[in-house]
Symmetry: C2
């Protein structure tokens, strides 16, 4: 992480890393089991390839995601997965989801599995996508 | 709210409203008792006047904050305050703060009062700024 932080406030600093229109959506996709560009671009927000590429690069630089290579015959599919630090953003996304459901009309309900998931479970299930 | 949403996902939709570098910091300032431009610009991130003005306008349009006029002799100071929908973002900010403290080195600790606060208490104390 070589980007300057705006202040020493933990909220401001976290937002310096993921406080934009797309980063937390890329993390949401990774939490739901997407690993490849194709899987992440299947999400309904239709993220542009260059934005997805940029945000994944930033998440890797910040230590929130890693790229794994597919290993032939091993069952390892490769693609991007969250690190423990990235998976620890789950409570943030859960609270954002609860707020959206409570205050924005006509949003779709949150899957029960998402609200019940813990960061540890998320990592354990990295090879078994939920969607 | 007349802006289009990217999808019907509650996370994406919430981020359509507050998913930028500054909006949640303005909300943090309001939660900590800042009401005037001067008070909000005293925060260490040194938000520019035009950005602050734009984000407050957006928060008012989205129903997350309201502007109150000062009433001479009434003790009412005027300035911006959160609505109940805005105050309900507290758990989001608390989880972001916890993540920042856990994963970013050298961030300052979160004030106990902030983590213990509930959205209801926040509204009750709107006339008694914490900072």
């Amino acid at each position: 992480m070589d980007r300057p932080f705006r202040s020493d406030c933990p909220i401001a600093s976290a937002l310096d890393i993921v406080g934009d229109r797309w980063s937390l959506l890329v993390i949401r996709n990774l939490m739901l089991g997407a690993r490849s560009f194709r899987q992440m671009q299947a999400a309904p927000e239709r993220i542009a390839t260059n934005i997805l590429s940029d945000r994944l690069k930033r998440l890797v630089e910040a230590g929130l995601a890693v790229e794994q290579r597919a290993i032939a015959g091993s069952g390892s599919r490769g693609g991007y997965v969250l690190t423990p630090a990235g998976a620890d953003l789950l409570p943030v996304l859960q609270e954002i989801a609860k707020w959206g459901v409570a205050h924005l009309t006509d949003r779709r309900p949150i899957p029960e599995a998402f609200l019940a998931t813990t960061p540890a479970l998320l990592l354990n299930s990295a090879d078994k996508p939920l969607s």
